[in-house]
């Protein structure tokens, strides 16, 4: 099932063409890494897909009722909000339900009328349906996983790294169908990266991300899109597979063996020498071309 279709997308920066005629799609369960060199327009492309920037041509179409969450490279928050308020205000039907329920409990204990009683009963059964009883626990658990402990502090007092972690935690709580992640591992420490890696591996979500963390990419993604010189290359595999295909492509073009190629070959050799360094998925890849 196709969740996202990008059609013929183009973007200019003044006179400079950043990219044009880009087309690709995301099917349900695809976990795709977008690879490109600095300045090739990765972040712009992500912003356009997330709807925060407009393209000069082409379309971005999501399947109906598809919920999308986007992690920006630099998180933007209202600095006067406390973390608690931010959690509550996160657009999330479960968090709204929980706060409704809590209000109903309070109203009922204060006024104790038939109306409040009935209200509480309705919300209780809704909580049951949505399996929301553990939402609070889940949110606090995920926030503490990202080392965010004082929920009464204002967002403005957080460091850049803490803000990044907060936005990542909120994004996970949103439980969306499609995640768009721009450099999710920046400013995280290794234990958090490994937690996130495992989480994204296990979740049945659809994912498009920009990352330069090669193990993360290797272990989470099953597809790579490479943006180079305005062209898109699709690689149905992980990083090792990507390196292999890229080397092949460069040889196919029959260009003089450049330094960059040698480098990529070396990288491929190195990654082949390190079988333990990879997850199980990629083993199959290695087997494929041996």
């Amino acid at each position: 099932m196709n969740l996202l279709a990008v059609e013929n997308l183009g973007k200019n920066f003044g006179e400079r063409i950043l990219f044009e005629g880009l087309s690709f799609g995301l099917s349900q369960g695809n976990k795709v890494a977008l690879i490109a060199n600095n300045g090739a327009g990765k972040s712009s492309l992500m912003k356009i897909i997330a709807g925060l920037d407009s393209a000069d041509e082409g379309d971005v179409v999501f399947r109906n009722e598809c919920r999308v969450s986007y992690l920006q490279q630099d998180a933007i928050f209202d600095n006067n909000m406390t973390i608690n308020k931010l959690i509550e205000s996160a657009h999330n039907k479960i968090s709204l339900l929980v706060s409704d329920y809590e209000n109903a409990v309070e109203a009922h204990s204060k006024h104790n009328s038939k109306q409040t009683q009935k209200n509480l009963e309705i919300l209780t059964s809704k909580m049951e349906q949505e399996n929301a009883w553990d939402y609070e626990r889940r949110s606090k658990q995920i926030l503490s996983k990202f080392n965010i402990k004082d929920f009464n502090q204002k967002v403005g007092n957080l460091s850049g790294g803490q803000k990044k972690r907060l936005s990542l935690a909120l994004l996970i709580l949103e439980n969306a169908d499609i995640l768009l992640l721009d450099e999710p591992t920046n400013h995280l420490d290794i234990s958090m990266i490994e937690w996130l890696e495992k989480y994204l591996q296990q979740q049945k979500i659809t994912l498009l991300m920009v990352t330069h963390d090669r193990y993360f990419l290797e272990r989470v993604c099953n597809n790579i899109i490479e943006l180079e010189g305005g062209n898109l290359y699709h690689h149905k595999g992980n990083y090792a597979y990507f390196l292999e295909k890229r080397t092949e492509r460069e040889i196919n073009f029959d260009v003089e063996v450049s330094k960059a190629q040698k480098l990529m070959k070396k990288e491929l050799e190195w990654i082949k020498r390190q079988p333990k360094a990879r997850g199980t998925k990629s083993k199959a890849r290695i087997d494929n071309f041996e």
Partner: protein, 313 residues
Amino acid sequence: MDRIGGKILEMKNIKKSFGELNILNGFDYTFKKGERIGILGKNGVGKSTFLNIITGKEKADSGKINIGETINYGYFTQSSFGIDENRRVITVLKDIAEYIVMSDKRKVSASQLLEHFMFTPEMQFTEVKRLSGGEKRRLHLLTVLMKNPNFLILDEPTNDLDLLTLTKLEEFLLQYKGCLVLVSHDRFFIDKLTEHLFVFKGDGVIEDHYCTYTQYREKQIEKDKEFKKIQHLEKENSKIKAKSKKLTYNEKYEYDNILKEIAILEDEKKKLEIILLNPEIDIEKMTNSSKRLGELVTLIDSKEMRWLELDSK
């Protein structure tokens, strides 16, 4: 100070703390020529303080540091790049040095270094202010390398560098002959460059491991498994001893709330009972109240049953 030959830097019984927070608790180490060390640890555990003590930017509380006479630090951090942006890329580097010497005695000129890091000849003659953020960061890195350091410290160098630049940096560092100390959350980067790790565990505890990150991680996973096995055994034992009281978090939440709800209902029940005791009560109020009382009793009953059920778990 006597010459320390192959030794570059000697640290003896170094202590450092900020109030309650212990960073170094009698740290001993002698950095040798050509060593490559990766530093691991959670945020806020004192990695940057450690680097600042190595480079003399911060003083230790106690202990002795012997610095080799010829030491020349190169220190690349996340701090911003303080440079006159009107100058050309190539002049920025040439003002530092004409060339650097690699491990195979090969001389690399400023221009060659720039080219290795993907600054085309055209870009080398542009002004710094025309570069993008990523390109400036790359240039910043090169100004550190151009100083020809024999003790190079890179603190989270991989943020904001793209894959190709990272690969280029790794290639350069593999040929670098000096002492290298890396702080990075990029496991691939660490694996590729070092087989010696300092792991900051917190509270001044620093473990010294001679292996790659991936090997270290595998050891940790094994350890965790062992630990969990023991925990599991203990759990099984205690299960046999006493029927364990185990609630899922959901049930725990429900359990906590049921008591509150019952209290509210009981409260209402009491009020109704008082109302019904009043002999002057009008008929309509009495009917309503007794009807509600009936409902309340059933509700409380069912909630109490659920409570008992959860409580006996």
